[in-house]
Amino acid sequence: MEGLTGLSKVTKGAMGRTGNWRELKPVIDYEKCTKCLRCWVSCPEGCISRSDDNTVTIDYEYCKGCGVCENECRPKAIKMIKEW
């Protein structure tokens, strides 16, 4: 038990499914989305990914529901909705 400290290997979701922490869920209205990528840049958890044509998708396994993306979205294409 000598020399223990808080180390972890870099793996996806090393702390488990943090999506379970979520109260409100961000949902994208693709009709309104202009593919500006502000949400992709702003997500503090890296839970928004982009495809080749800049379509964004949210990873609900790990999204904690902080709402930063909703706040940053200029065309108001993202809404936080009650999940439970």
Binding site: M1, E2, G3, L4, T5, G6, L7, S8, K9, V10, A14, M15
Partner: protein, 381 residues
């Protein structure tokens, strides 16, 4: 053995030690309460004498954070501070220890304000005693240099892996010139093997450190720190022995002892105050009084077993230059834990840099013949 004796202030002895122990990074805040240590290291770096990356940071909190970050890449680091500067580091002190990064640091002991007082007492470092740092206290300029060499070896021991604070008395030795024998680089290189980190940040083998960990694991991390501390007394004893064989000087291990075997009274203290107490013991021995001195060199971990052995069946008088307000002298209260069955007296002396003289120690030892000194605070009546 070739000698290279120079007349150095305590602070200059530190910069010589830094040159010899070769930390890859030194991060320090340069302005008051900083001492001339950092100035001397910076000059050494500028002249090419000291080979290290010197980072001049904006606060002591940042100094410790920079050392932690640098040490996390797998290299040896160093910093120096004093008084309020040490207090500003408090959060990061815990971090270095919990991360098991043996950062080595000098602390020049000076009183805490307000009122503003730049002189010596030990309340700055002793109030950091629960941060998981090993704390050592030197009593001369030579010992400051030698203790640094021992500190790097001790903190980086694979069974220990804890940061070490080398403390010494502000002005009383930090600004006093004394002869210091500077050892050869080759001997120091042999004594301190290259630093082998427990873990490191390495892009080839990515890990994260400081992530959230469950209570059960955190509990084990804390226990592991305690195990590291528990190894210190034995390892420090071995280091002191090897040090005296290598460098020809013996300052003691966990405790520096003087005339303890046949003594009926043991005077316990630390730092330059301890040197003064040893002087007093010399005077009392001349007049036939059987006293001995135990100058604690390693205060954290507290040398419980050795104190018990030295003081068994004897009267003990503890001289404290720091106080835990609401209970009393810090070493006094810890000595009471270590030796519940001995007759222990406690004196609080030299607070805020008040001068302590050997005659005063003699007078207090005699006073303890007539009355019980229980947190007896000198200079208040």
């Amino acid at each position: 053995m070739a000698q290279n004796v120079q007349i150095l202030e305590g602070n200059a002895a530190v910069s010589e030690a830094v040159r010899l122990c070769k930390p890859a990074v030194v991060a320090a805040y340069p302005i008051t309460p900083q001492t001339t240590i950092v100035e001397k290291i910076a000059k050494g770096v500028d002249s090419g004498k000291i080979k290290t990356e010197f980072i001049c940071v904006e606060s002591e909190h940042s100094a410790m954070a920079a050392c932690i970050a640098a040490q996390a890449t797998g290299v040896r680091t160093y910093t120096a501070t004093s008084s309020h500067g040490l207090l500003l580091m408090h959060e990061m002190l815990h971090w270095a220890s919990l991360a098991r990064l043996p950062v080595i640091m000098a602390n020049v002991n000076r009183a805490i304000g307000p009122g503003w007082n730049i002189w010596c007492d030990y309340n700055d470092s002793m109030s950091q005693r629960d941060t998981g740092w090993i704390q050592m206290y030197a009593s001369s300029c030579q010992e400051i240099l030698d203790m640094h060499i021992q500190a790097f070896r001790l903190g980086e021991d694979p069974h220990v892996m804890l940061p070490v604070m080398v403390c010494f008395d502000g002005f009383i030795i930090s600004h006093t010139s004394m002869p210091v024998d500077i050892p050869e680089q080759a001997l120091v290189d042999k004594f301190i093997p290259p630093y082998k980190p427990l873990w490191k940040l390495d892009t080839a083998n990515p890990i994260t450190h400081g992530n959230i960990i469950p209570s059960k694991n955190y509990n084990l991390v804390r226990y592991s720190q305690q195990l590291g501390m528990n190894h210190v007394p034995k390892i420090m004893g071995d280091i002191a022995k090897e040090f005296s064989e290598t460098f020809g000087r013996d300052h003691g291990g966990m405790i520096d002892k003087l005339n303890v075997e046949d003594a009926d009274t043991i005077l316990v203290s630390v730092g330059a105050l301890g040197a003064c107490v040893k002087d007093a013991v010399g005077h009392m021995r001349k007049s036939g009084r059987k006293v001995g001195a135990a100058r604690i060199r390693v205060f954290r971990p507290f040398p419980v077993e050795e104190l018990r052995r030295i003081c068994k069946g004897k009267k003990v008088i503890v001289f404290d230059r720091a106080v835990s307000l609401g209970i009393g002298g810090i070493i006094y209260t810890e000595a009471k834990y270590a030796m519940p069955h001995e007759d222990i007296h406690g004196v609080i002396i030299g607070i805020g840099g008040q001068d302590v003289r050997a005659q005063e120690i003699v007078a207090l030892t005699e006073k303890a013949d007539k009355q019980r000194l229980d947190n007896y605070w000198v200079g208040v009546d």
